[in-house]
């Protein structure tokens, strides 16, 4: 009996923390109707700043520095204020200019902010976790309820979370500022017209939300006695789940959702054998099911499901600022008649072949293979995000499916069960490129089908949930995937008895794949299929009125994108000869998304341009001393660049290389 009660307490603590962080999502969503993915990172910063203020000395940027050595309460208070100010600052700089932009812009921006903050934290505090100092809460008397003991930390977490949420609910419902917030939430334009400073009210929502996120982070860190740069990721997503579960926009909903999620997680992992390792996937499964059955949550309204209108492919935000000057330089190149001609394609292939023979350094050839690989992946994602206009944060799952499929076929089945070497069955690889692609495509359609019932922000969250489920399953399904150890000894590709093992040979292999892929995608896009995708992206109602079966074409986009992901996954496994779950994280998905945005959404060449720029920078910058000691700092730049792109030039580098949508 005591076991159950202990699980109950654990669930309540976890739930209180989720609920607190869920208030952050709910407050901001309620007022601005945007999901701020960066709250997970503000949660983490709350913990880190508190920790830093509480110790006498700490290593920052790799240098030991003297710290204030404060006690817990002032440190926590300062941290909350600091994070609140940071939250308002983020809103002012990154989100406010995008209020009237298409939804996808602010979603991508908040993801970029999240990447930036996480990389910043890794650069400042180092990538590993730090132990959280003991707090006075540990010495509080515990409460005895019958046979159950509730420690000081536990009851403080629960009561303070409860009090904070009650205070927030009273604030929103019974103060004039709270009333102004509710008015802005209902109708920002009308609120503005009656004299409510809407932008300031939104700022207040960000300040309060960020303080709540920091508060949750501090409680989390002191309960589990650690802080790490990635600690905000899972709780952040779970808090978002909790907010959606309760009905986003509602504070009591956030409380109910958070507690429910905490309890379900704790009790399921305590009673269902083997469930503990899938604990992280559990909340996403819950989220996915919930979005399908009752997208408005338990206590919420159905409003997150709004229609898509407009895309990021126009450069209306480009007001000629100096930031976009280099981009505009590219415009002349990409808009030229030469770029639209067929000649350029042959020239590009000839140059790529020439490079393959000309470059002697294996190191650089390897980097070029990565450029092609990421270019292909980005092209696959571009089908969904760029052409069909659906934000997909679960694309890496397709990549993983292809990679694991071929690895299992070659290493576990052909080699392990039949003792067959690749030289005997080399052709299987080529079949696998197609089969792996088809499996991933079916997977895409299977996942896409329920996903398409939701739109906008929910779509992003749901694809993210699917991606995470796949990653967690791959990590924990040890008998099949070998778990976190990954699969080793995947053979290099062969062709009629010739091993394609050298980097140069692999480069040509990747180049051939890229050319075929671009040719195929080009053909599909330059037809009624591409027109249907773009029409749906720009105005899905008008597209339907033209006889376009929206669901069918969106599914087709998911399937095509899944096919490309699966196919590239097969190649990737044989190229790296080793795969493990760490290649298929959400972070990787964000990087691929960034390549598409950087290169140019909805263009053929964009994904490769983005991949070339970023991958070469990633390697070349390693010679810079600062980057050498802090490799994560490059991702600060990635985040910053993505924010700048969304603000000033959402159409990317190759914006003018617009794809013609007519055959021939």
């Amino acid at each position: 009996m005591l076991y159950f009660e202990q699980l109950l307490i654990n669930g309540l603590i976890l739930g209180s923390i989720y609920a607190l962080a869920a208030v952050a999502y709910t407050l901001v969503y309620g007022v601005v109707k945007m999901v701020n993915f960066a709250f997970g990172e503000l949660f983490m910063l709350g913990a880190f700043i508190t920790l830093s203020l509480m110790v006498p000395e700490l290593s920052l940027f790799g240098h030991l520095m003297a710290m204030p050595d404060l006690s817990f309460f002032p440190a926590a208070l300062i941290a909350m204020v600091a994070v609140a100010v940071l939250g308002a600052l983020i809103d002012r700089i990154a989100y406010r200019p995008l209020r009237n932009a298409p939804r996808m812009a602010s979603l991508i921006t908040s993801i970029a902010v999240s990447v930036l903050l996480q990389s910043l934290a890794q650069t400042i505090w180092g990538p590993s976790s730090l132990s959280f100092p003991e707090t006075p809460l540990a010495h509080l008397p515990s409460i005895q309820l019958g046979e159950i003991t509730i420690t000081g930390i536990e009851w403080v977490v629960m009561t303070s979370a409860l009090l904070a949420m009650i205070a927030m609910q009273l604030f929103v419902n019974y103060t004039s500022l709270g009333r102004a917030m509710r008015a802005s939430a209902q109708d920002p334009t009308a609120a503005y017209l009656v004299g409510i400073p809407v932008n300031r009210i939104i700022g207040v929502a960000f300040v309060l939300g960020s303080a709540f996120a920091a508060f949750a982070g501090i409680l989390y860190a002191q309960s589990f006695e650690f802080a790490s740069p990635t600690m905000g990721f899972a709780p952040g997503l779970k808090a978002l789940t909790a907010a959606v579960l309760g009905g986003i926009g509602s504070i009591p909903g956030a409380a109910v959702g958070g507690l429910l999620l905490g309890l379900v997680e704790s009790i399921c992992s305590g009673y269902i054998p083997g469930a503990a390792i899938y604990q992280d996937a559990l909340s996403f499964v819950l989220l996915v099911l919930l979005l399908l059955v009752r997208p408005q949550g338990l206590l919420g309204k159905k409003e997150m499901n709004s229609h898509a209108r407009g895309s990021l492919t126009s450069d209306r935000n480009d007001k000629g600022s100096w930031i976009t000057a280099p981009f505009r330089l590219m415009d002349g190149v990409f808009a030229s008649r030469l770029m639209a001609s067929n000649l350029i394609k042959f020239v590009a292939i000839a140059v790529a072949v020439g490079i393959g023979f000309g470059i002697q350094s294996d190191y650089w050839l390897g980097i070029l293979v990565m450029v092609l690989l990421y270019g292909m992946l980005a092209s696959g994602l571009n089908i969904v995000v760029g052409f069909a206009g659906l934000l997909d944060l679960g694309f890496v799952a397709f990549w993983a499916v292809g990679a694991y499929y071929t690895s299992i076929v070659f290493v576990s089945v052909l080699q392990g069960m039949y003792g067959l070497d690749i030289s005997a069955t080399w052709w299987v690889l080529y079949a696998n490129l197609i089969v792996g692609g088809v499996i991933a495509a079916m997977f895409g359609a299977f996942l896409g089908y329920p996903t398409l019932r939701v739109r906008g922000d929910y779509l992003a969250i749901m694809t993210l949930g699917f991606g995470e489920i796949v990653r967690v399953v791959v990590t924990n399904w040890v008998p099949v995937t070998n778990g976190p150890m990954g699969i080793r000894g995947i053979p290099s590709p062969m062709l009629f008895g010739y091993e394609i093992g050298s980097t140069r040979a692999l480069y040509f292999f990747a180049l051939a794949l890229s050319v075929v892929l671009l040719f195929c995608i080009g053909r599909v896009v330059r037809s009624f299929v591409g027109r249907a995708w773009v029409a749906l992206r720009e105005d899905d109602d008008a597209a339907e009125a033209m006889g376009i079966h929206g669901t069918r074409y969106k599914l087709l986009a998911y399937a095509c994108s899944g096919f490309v992901g699966g196919l590239v996954g097969v190649f990737y496994a044989h190229f790296q000869q080793y795969i493990s779950p760490i290649s298929f994280t959400l972070f990787e998905n964000i990087v691929i998304l960034m390549l598409v945005v950087l290169g140019g959404l909805g263009t053929m060449i964009g994904p490769f341009v983005g991949a070339a720029v970023w991958i070469v920078f990633l390697q070349a910058s390693l010679n810079i001393p600062f980057v050498e000691s802090f490799p994560e700092s490059r991702y600060i730049l990635l985040g910053a660049m993505l924010i700048a792109l969304m603000l000033f030039r959402p159409s990317g580098l190759a914006a003018k290389a617009r794809q013609r949508l007519v055959m021939g």
């Binding site: 492919t313 053909r523 249907a532 339907e544 033209m546 006889g547 079966h549 007519v662």
Partner: protein
């Protein structure tokens, strides 16, 4: 007081050609929560004719148009297009059945070129899928070639300059965007065309030119349902007129009969009740 002048059921002769009913709404009711936006609307639109739907703001014209084109869910009633009847049309199925529409606020597809935009309108006419596009099947290539020719012909027909083909449609002047929208609707070879305030926001010359275009479309045999406020346009274009008031049909019949009806004159033209 509800007055109904029912149009005859048998084919009637309009301008010397035989006309038949291609769009019929039967007992169409759309309710939002407790509010009935449209109730028990019966409506017939015939080929070779323009049927105008008029009424004051909030009369339910837009809801009726949305219900007829599959964008609003019917609470009760049904819509027949070219002989197919259903109470639960989806927008894309309705388009496939032969109804094309334009929107009150022009809705083009972002930066798609004029040619591409118009081609989208023909989408429902080809039944091939991904493989037809990927492998460029003969039927797909032929269809595309023919459609491009049709689109070019329509660009001329609606009176757009011929060099706009590769220009982003949303960069054209307002009047031209309207024409692109009409061409996009016409390329599907619709049985019935639904024009939602096509003349709104246009100057006198533009109105005259576009009225002439609508007239030509009518002559080609298409049934047109026209939402319009301008009485002069209705008088010159519409064969039949239905007046909506508070979601209900107030009166329906030939345009002359309807417009000369005292109640309509009182409501619409502001004269004292006769």
């Amino acid at each position: 007081m509800l007055i109904e002048t029912m149009t005859t059921q048998r084919p009637v002769s309009l301008n010397g050609t035989t006309s038949s009913v291609v769009l019929r709404a039967s007992e169409l009711t759309v309710r939002f929560g407790g509010l009935s936006a449209v109730s028990n609307l019966n409506l017939e639109v015939r080929s070779h004719s323009v049927h105008a739907l008029i009424g004051p703001n909030g009369a339910g014209k837009s809801t009726a148009v949305n219900a007829l084109s599959g964008f609003a869910i019917l609470t009760t009633g049904s819509v027949s297009i070219g002989g197919k009847t259903s109470g639960r049309w989806t927008a894309h199925a309705i388009a496939k059945a032969g109804l094309a529409r334009t929107f009150q606020n022009i809705r083009l597809f972002g930066e798609m070129t004029v040619l591409e935009t118009i081609l989208v309108g023909r989408h429902a006419g080809f039944s091939g899928g991904l493989f037809a596009a990927l492998f460029r099947t003969k039927s797909a290539v032929d269809f595309e070639r023919n459609t491009v020719e049709e689109a070019r012909a329509l660009i001329r027909f609606v009176g757009l300059p011929s060099n706009v083909e590769d220009v982003p449609a949303n960069s054209l002047p307002y009047g031209h965007q309207r024409r692109v929208e009409i061409a996009r609707a016409l390329i599907s070879k619709p049985k019935v065309l639904l024009l939602d305030e096509p003349l709104a926001g246009m100057n006198v010359a533009e109105k005259a030119a576009l009225s002439e275009l609508i007239h030509q479309v009518r002559e080609s045999g298409v049934a047109i349902l026209l939402i319009e406020h301008d009485m002069d346009v209705i008088r010159s274009l519409a064969n039949f007129t239905t007046v909506l008031y508070q979601g209900k049909k107030l009166i329906s019949g030939t345009t002359n009969d309807v417009l000369s009806h005292p109640e309509v004159q009182a409501a619409y033209l502001g004269r004292a009740k006769a």
